[in-house]
Amino acid sequence: MTAPLLVVEDLTKRFGGLTAVDRAALTVRAGTIAGLIGPNGAGKTTLFAMISGFETPTSGAVRFEGRDVTALPAHQRTAAGIARTFQIVQPFAGLSVRENIAVGAYLRRAGRTEALAHADAVGRAVGLGPQLDRPAGEMTVAGRKRLELARALATDPKLLLLDEVLAGLNPSEIRDMIPVIRRIREGGVTILIVEHVMQAVMSLCDEVHVLAQGRMIASGPPLAVARDPAVMEAYLGHGAAARIAASARNPGAPDHA
């Protein structure tokens, strides 16, 4: 299981004068959970947007399963097997939870019955079973985050890009979500996750990549990266070491950047 599923080669994105992502490179091996961390505004969401086809890179390339997908539009990348969630949740507010998930399920199923059945199954798997008939617009934050996850999952992706699916959840909700994410990986889906909740990153990820001001400043196993003083300085500023230690002693507490 060491074949690289996703290879990001020197991706750069400029918005006018601002370089949001600056020659960032990373590799995600199939079957792993990789973390992407970095302070606010580091360019994580922008990098996700380029991997999923929502932003065109200024330069650089995205390879998926060895194929150059840099020029593919977003919907074709999803068809190729790259699914994403949105940091700012984007529910189809007027539709029920089931119908929301079904839109994802339709990607590989033409029939209504099959798509709805798959939506039900995925919904139950992420813990939305009791809420399938509710309008998505009425969900709590935790429910919406699960819905983001469920919809993306319903497209049967090979690679799942999760952008802060734990943000805004309370510690007990986070504890509920972590095994859900683990089970998705066990189901054979490779995951790249952006997360500020350090505890989750530490416990979930096989490998962590650190982005700061658009640059990739470190990659490696979570513990090694967390102990890297350069990372601490760049990522969390002064006094970072103490806070990481604190969050390690106090499992589940979200680490506010």
Binding site: G111, R112, E138
Partner: protein, 331 residues
């Protein structure tokens, strides 16, 4: 896979079909035929605007194309109207595709899309008003030949039933679409275009398919209108009135629902006629524009108080209000 709306459609169509057997008033029949034509145009609008959330202010472009195609194919090319009808629909659909291709590829949405459709309709109106081929300002007369083979009937009820058949077809089409993958994708992009793209929906293609279908249906309404009145000019065929009616009926009846356009068109035009009569009696003569004032007020009221239209209101009346989560436990 039988649509859940099959039975209501059947009932509605039977009721409408029986109407001219009981009431024989010519005025009523005329009114109903016209109302169903508007309903058909509105059903077309609803596919794109109601399900797809792309509000066109210029469906006159498709209505007019259908109408002129129907008239011109007969008058200038000697085509039989039964053969001209599908051609008119195809031409309308083609115009829809072309406008959609330009507008959606340029990523126009919301007010921008509304304005560009309006502008296209106006361009067509000005051209049709200036071009000798379309009869220019004098308009286009389709010769009167009362024969069934000529889609002109001695018995006006037959034409009414023909229009009703089109409406029924559009109802079935809408109901099927609403339950299909295409329908789910169309609604998804209405609710949130980015989210739809992330789930693998080719939004450009779906929108193009929707506007093409929508234009084809509205063009059929235009074709029927031409055949009903046997006269066309640019202000009738491409005039803003039909753009407004086609948009108003679904909004008043229930946006993005199977029956919304039909119910809206009947309610709207019925109220328009009633207010014309009532105020005409009051002021001792016809007051121009009264029905449209009523339409405008209804549009504002619908947006303000009945966002799901008459159907939504009806729903609220006959069904118990849905209990809030966990709020059902009463001792």
């Amino acid at each position: 896979m039988t649509g859940s709306a099959r039975l209501p459609i059947l009932i509605a169509v039977i009721v409408l079909a029986l109407l001219p057997l009981g009431a024989t008033s010519n005025t009523l029949l005329n009114f109903m035929t016209f109302a169903l034509i508007v309903a058909l145009a509105a059903q077309g609008w609803n596919l794109l605007g109601g399900y797809g959330g792309q509000f066109s202010f210029g469906h006159a472009a498709f209505f007019g194309t259908g109408a002129y195609a129907m008239g011109l194919l007969q008058v200038r090319f000697g085509l039989n109207p039964w053969a001209a009808m599908p051609v008119a629909m195809l031409l309308g659909a083609a115009v829809g595709w072309a406008i959609g291709f330009l507008a959606f590829r340029a990523r126009l949405r919301g007010a921008y899309f509304a304005l560009v459709t309006l502008a296209f309709a106006e361009v067509f109106r000005i051209l049709a008003n200036a071009w000798a081929f379309t009869g220019a300002a004098a308009g286009l007369l389709v010769p009167l030949k009362l024969q069934a083979a000529n889609m002109q009937f001695e018995d006006k009820r037959l034409f009414y039933w023909l229009v009703l058949a089109f409406v029924a077809g559009a109802l079935v089409l809408t109901a099927e679409l609403a339950r299909s993958r295409f329908g789910a994708r169309l609604v998804a992009l209405r609710e949130n275009e980015d989210a739809a793209r992330a789930l693998g929906v080719d939004t450009l293609r779906v929108k193009l398919a929707a506007i093409t279908l929508s234009a084809g249906v509205t063009a059929a309404a235009g074709g029927l209108y031409a055949q009903k009145s046997l006269y066309l000019d640019a202000a009738i065929a491409y005039g803003p009135w039909i753009s407004v009616d086609a948009l108003l009926a679904p909004i008043v009846g229930g946006l993005g629902t199977v029956f919304g356009p039909l119910i809206g068109a009947l309610a709207l035009l019925g109220l328009g006629e009633l207010s014309k009569m009532a105020l005409g009696n009051l002021f001792g003569g016809a007051v121009p524009g009264i029905d449209l004032i009523v339409f405008g007020i209804l549009l504002i009221l619908a947006v303000a108080f009945a966002p799901r239209g008459l159907l939504g209101l009806f729903d609220r009346l006959i069904r118990r209000p849905r209990p809030a989560e966990g709020g059902e436990a009463t001792p």
